[in-house]
């Protein structure tokens, strides 16, 4: 069955409720005109159909001024009403509540990076606390992207060279989809993220935990690398169980011989792995497209080293 839940009024965020109210308002007006026009169209078509062999003389009616004026004035008034209601809610959607937490969003082909006020970063996963207003300040590193959370009824294009913003007030805990809504290239449809809304207490303890992990430099490199691997969103395109996704699997990659698109082969050593992360298009694996973004600016040197340590463990 199709998921019809998404058609119900969404209570996921402050804006979603208002937007759906406008939607229902327009639906009622559109529904009225739909029934009126289609009803008359079908009724006249049946009522005045020509029966076989019958010659009916039809009246010579060329118009009616009163009717023309009615069907100019009434729709015009209703249209102004629709405009005004949409405007009112739109202004609300565009005016952030004071005191909103600011999160920096950077879009690039084909991922979302988030930077929280305390300096933590994450890729393709945005965590927010329930009931706290958030302002997303967004920019793109390459082409135009679109930040879209369907359950929140919110969307904003993300531009290179300038900031656009979006603000949210989560009203329900849960997991929500983030899509890229503006076509941005080969991996456009895979540029998806997740919004996780947690109750305030849970969010705080998660936040502390993250900060602790950040400070714990004593972690084994492979364990640290596993965390980098998960946070950077590698799993979106690469499997670790041997199955092919958009990108080649990483299972048993280290030490293997890789066949490249130009027919050459290369030994998958540490340097190959490093290069493939910071400059992915330098060597393209045969049968795959050059669509992986560079992680040069996203990952710090020690994170990269840890990531490679982790990749070695994927036997």
């Amino acid at each position: 069955m199709p998921d019809l839940n998404a058609l119900k009024v969404s209570e996921a965020s402050l804006a979603s409720h208002d937007v759906d109210a406008v939607f229902v308002f327009i639906l009622v007006i559109a529904g009225f005109f739909f029934i009126l026009t289609q009803g008359l169209l079908i009724y006249f078509a049946i009522r005045y159909r020509r029966k076989k062999g019958e010659e009916v003389s039809t009246p010579y009616i060329t118009g009616n001024h009163a009717l023309e004026i009615i069907w100019i004035i009434i729709p015009s008034l209703l249209l102004v009403g629709i405009f005004a209601y949409g405007l009112q809610v739109f202004l609300k959607m565009r005016t952030p509540l004071p005191g909103a937490t600011e999160v920096q969003v950077t879009a690039s082909q084909f991922q979302w990076s988030f930077k929280y006020p305390d300096g933590r970063t994450s890729v393709n996963e945005l965590r927010l606390a329930l009931g706290k207003p958030v302002k997303l300040i967004m920019t793109s590193r390459d082409v135009i992207h679109g930040f879209f959370i369907p359950d929140y009824r919110q969307k904003q294009d993300v531009l290179p060279g300038s900031y656009t913003f979006l603000w949210l007030l989560p009203k329900r805990a849960g997991t929500f989809d983030i899509y890229c809504s503006q076509y941005c290239g080969t991996g456009h449809s895979l540029m998806r993220g997740t919004l996780i809304v947690m109750p305030q207490a849970e969010y705080l303890s998660w936040e502390q935990n993250e900060q602790k992990k950040l400070q714990a430099g004593t972690q084994a490199p492979a364990d640290q690398g596993k965390r980098v691997f998960e946070n950077a969103g590698c799993l979106g395109c690469h499997s670790i169980d041997g199955s092919a996704k958009v990108g080649p699997t990483l299972k048993g990659l280290f030490g293997s011989t890789v066949v490249l698109a130009d027919g050459k082969t290369v030994q998958a050593d540490e340097e190959y792995l490093r290069e493939s992360v910071v400059d992915p298009n330098a060597k393209i694996v045969k049968g795959f497209q050059p669509i992986m973004p560079s992680f040069k600016a996203t990952l710090k040197d020690e994170e990269l080293a840890a990531l490679i340590a982790y990749l070695k463990t994927l036997k």
């Binding site: 199709p2 998921d3 058609l7 937007v19 939607f23 327009i26 559109a30 005109f33 739909f34 008359l40 169209l41 006249f44 078509a45 005045y48 159909r49 019958e54 010659e55 009916v56 039809t58 009246p59 010579y60 009616i61 060329t62 118009g63 009616n64 023309e68 069907w71 729709p75 015009s76 249209l79 102004v80 629709i82 405009f83 209601y85 949409g86 405007l87 009112q88 809610v89 739109f90 390459d142 082409v143 135009i144 679109g146 879209f148 904003q156 294009d157 531009l159 290179p160 060279g161 899509y179 076509y183 941005c184 290239g185 080969t186 456009h188 449809s189 998806r192 958009v246 497209q289 669509i291």
Partner: protein, 540 residues
């Protein structure tokens, strides 16, 4: 000539008598040029439709399937660009417009027959250059948004040049029609005796002449950005990617009225003929065409509510957008009122004209959700928009074109279409169309973005419905084309006026002679005098 004996035993072939490549390629006859356009544009309709079938096939499966994501992106770009620039923009104006404007206003040809032929060949040149861009096919979407279109390795520059030429053809054709309608009307045909198709074509031509240069310039700027690194749209060099979108939509919004106004013109011709009633509200329909053309120039920003354009601009564009709905509504109310107390028969042209109204109402009403700021934020760039667009353009323009093709086929070819085949095709097309595109409204409300080669699995069931619908739609269209081809040779010879129409094209033979009329008619009445006048009305 050796086959002269055979020719004389067949019905009079009118303007089609002469045969051979030369007689077509260098013809100055507007009717032959119209036929050339019909064949060319319908060819791209079939090709673009085939691409759409491949797209729908891939969308049966949410994950990777059949072909790569990159191929999918190329295919939807080609489907869009081909359908928009090579089919739907020239489909009615250049083809049926060329053929019927001189016939409907009672003259022997367009004002500039040589320019007309030149327009056709520059169109073909544009197509050839466009095909040349396939060496590295475009993957930018038909909207060419920068900076992606400035960066991609695809042959964007070549395609820009090709479409520049196509645009030039469009400007010249529009100019030709404006002059023709102003200066070459038959004696007695004043502006209020013009058939409404002519009003629609007049408004269309004005838009073509005024807006097409803007897209031409935009293509040049984009090419300069790619070839010479001039940063019109590149923020790193002080340019603005939104400027491109403003330029692009300044053309591409008015151009949807280039697509729809001629179709509305056809519907305004067909409805009175098959309802045997005068058109209701002639002046309202005629002036609403001009109003749509005018307001259409002021609303391009409604494509950009979430683009990063300022809030104030968004508000102004939304307000103006709602006023396009008023003249559109006027037309629909007047067509429906024309049916009142008519004597309606349902031959295939009428079926398609009524289908136009039915589907266009859905397309128009769903436009309200896109014009309203608050709801547009959610449904913009989703399948809701895809559905709305196809309901207006395929459900509207293409159904209008089908109505026109069925209505005028006897006049153009001298043969009747097979009505049984036409009706079976119609059933399949109407059913298939709705099964294909209606689920997309729901998908869009659920948040499925457009241009997604792969999608979350929760959207799969409705995508399967849409894909199955597209098979019925395709089958219907194939039957329709089979009927065209078959009737061209084997159809019963058409009488001069098979539908008892009152417009001037029906007063000449089917097919018309080379110079349209043996004697230029004198017009004494408007072309919608159906029904029984009272004594009072006769006195007027």
């Amino acid at each position: 000539m050796s086959n002269q004996g055979i020719a004389s035993s067949l019905p009079d072939r009118g303007y089609l008598t002469e045969k051979g490549f030369h007689s077509w390629a260098f013809t100055l006859d507007h009717k032959r040029i119209g036929i050339l356009y019909i064949c060319t544009t319908l060819g791209f309709f079939l090709l673009g439709g085939t691409l759409a079938m491949l797209l729908r096939l891939k969308l049966l499966v949410p994950g990777p399937a059949f072909f790569s994501d990159h191929t999918y992106n190329v295919l939807f770009t080609m489907h869009g660009a081909m359908m928009i620039f090579l089919f739907i923009i020239p489909a009615i104006p250049s083809s049926l417009g060329n053929f019927f404007i001189p016939l409907l206003i009672g003259t022997r040809d367009v004002a500039f027959p040589r320019l007309n032929l030149f327009s056709y060949w520059i169109f073909v040149a544009g197509i050839l250059v466009t095909i040349g861009s396939l060496v590295s096919p475009m993957d930018t979407g038909w909207t060419f948004y920068t900076p992606y279109s400035a960066q991609t390795s695809a042959a964007v520059t070549t395609l820009c040049f090709g479409l520049f030429l196509v645009g030039m053809s469009s400007i010249l054709t529009g100019l030709n029609f404006i002059v023709t309608i102003h200066t070459m009307r038959a004696p007695g045909m004043n502006w209020y005796r013009l058939p409404l198709f002519i009003w629609g074509m007049y408004a269309t031509s004005v838009i073509q002449v005024l807006s097409t240069p803007v897209i031409g310039i935009t293509f040049i700027l984009l090419a300069a950005e790619r070839l010479f690194g001039v940063g019109f749209f590149d923020p790193a060099k002080g340019g603005d990617p939104l400027l491109f979108q403003h330029f692009f939509w300044f053309y591409s919004h008015p151009v949807v009225y280039v697509m729809i106004l001629p179709a509305m013109g056809i519907v305004s011709e067909v409805i009175p003929v098959f309802a045997r009633k005068p058109i209701f509200g002639y002046k309202a329909i005629a002036f609403s065409a001009l109003a749509i053309a005018f307001i259409g120039f002021l609303v391009w920003g409604h494509h950009m509510f979430v683009s990063g354009m300022s809030t104030v601009s968004g508000i102004i564009f939304s307000f103006l957008t709602f006023f396009v709905a008023v003249p559109t509504g006027i037309k629909i109310f007047n067509w429906i009122a024309t049916l009142y107390r008519g004597s309606i028969s349902f031959e295939s042209p009428m079926l398609y004209a009524l289908t136009f109204i039915f589907l266009f109402i859905i397309g128009g009403l769903t436009g309200l959700f896109l014009g309203s700021l608050a709801t547009d934020v959610h449904v913009h760039d989703t399948y809701f928009l895809v559905a709305h667009f196809h309901y207006t353009m395929m459900g509207g323009t293409v159904m209008g074109l089908f109505a026109g093709l069925h209505y005028w086929f006897p006049k153009m070819t001298g043969r009747m279409l097979n009505e049984g085949w036409a009706k079976s095709a119609w059933w399949l097309i109407v059913t298939g169309f709705n099964v294909t595109f209606f689920p997309m409204f729901i998908l869009g409300m659920q948040g499925m973005p457009r241009r997604y080669a792969e999608y979350p699995a929760k959207y799969q069931p409705l995508n399967i419905v849409a894909t199955v619908g597209s098979w019925f739609l395709a089958l219907g269209i194939l039957i329709m084309f089979a009927n065209f081809v078959r009737s061209l040779r084997g159809g019963t010879p058409a009488p001069d006026n098979p539908w008892q129409g009152l417009t001037l094209e029906w007063s000449t033979s089917s097919p018309p002679p080379e110079e349209n009329f043996h004697e230029i008619p004198t017009v004494t009445d408007w072309p919608y005098s159906y029904g029984k006048k009272t004594r009072h009305e006769r006195g007027k």
